[in-house]
Symmetry: C2
Subunit: 119 residues, 2 copies
Amino acid sequence: MYQRKTPEDLECGITIAMKVFGAKWKPCLLDAIQRGFRRPSEMHREIKGATPRVLDMQLRELETSGIVEKCQSAGFPLYTEYTLTDLGRTIMPIIDRINEWGLQYKELIAEGSPQSISL
Amino acid sequence: MYQRKTPEDLECGITIAMKVFGAKWKPCLLDAIQRGFRRPSEMHREIKGATPRVLDMQLRELETSGIVEKCQSAGFPLYTEYTLTDLGRTIMPIIDRINEWGLQYKELIAEGSPQSISL
DNA sequence: CTCAATACCGAATAATTTTTCGGTTACCGA
DNA sequence: TCGGTAACCGAAAAATTATTCGGTATTGAG
C-alpha cells in the first residue's frame, strides 16, 4: 500500500476536507449520486472521461471515509447501490456551490487561464 | 511548457472550479490573503509545509486566472502585495465552508479514512 | 564593493494520482 | 458449458503536481 512521504497539516480544515472529497472524481461521483445515479455501472456511463477503475477506487474511499454507503443485494444481475450518508449530505451544499461557481464564471476564466492551454 | 494529455470536460462546473482554486495550496493562499497576509514573504512564513516555490507558482496562477491582483511598489525592501479581485471574493464563501467542514468533521473522518494511514 | 532582504524564475527530480490492462467472482440464459 | 452483465481488485505504467536546488534582479546599508 502506498505510504505518503510528505507530512500533512491535519489541523487545517481545508487540508482535511480536500483529502475527503477533493480528489479528481469525488465531487463528480457525489453529484452523480445526488442526481440519482446510484449504481456503479450507471456512474461509469454518466461520468465520461473517467475510467471505471478510478471511479471504483474513489467510491471506495468515499465509503471508507463514511461519505457514502453501499447496499448490495444478491440476485441477478448483481445490484449495488451507493447512497449518501448523513455525513455525506453535509458536503453536498459545498459541491453544489463549487459547481455553480464553475458554471457561472467559466467564460470569465477561460481567457488567459494558465491551465486552459489544452483547450 | 507542459502540455496536458488527458482531455478535460470544460462544461462541468466542478472541473472548471477545481482547476481555478483546487490545487494543493490555492485555498490556503486565498485564505491567508483574506486573513491579512498579503505579501509573498508573509505567506511563506504563514503557510508551513509549503515551499516558497510552490506558493509563488500557485499565486501566479491565481493571478492569471483573475482571482488575485498584484500591486508592486518600487522601494526598499521590495514590496509586493496580493489582494483578492471581485472574482476572487466570490470564491471565499466556498473556501470558508470547505474549511469549516474540515474542522467540524475531522474527528469523524480520522478513524478509518484510507488516506489517514500516514498519520 | 559586498552583503542582506524581497520577489521571483528554470530545470531536474521526486511524490502523488490517475490510467491501462488484465484479471476474479457470481449469476443467469441459451 | 459458454457467453454476457455487474461489481470489483492488483500491479505496472503514465500523467500530473509539487519539491529541491540553484539561480536572477533590485535596492539600501555598511
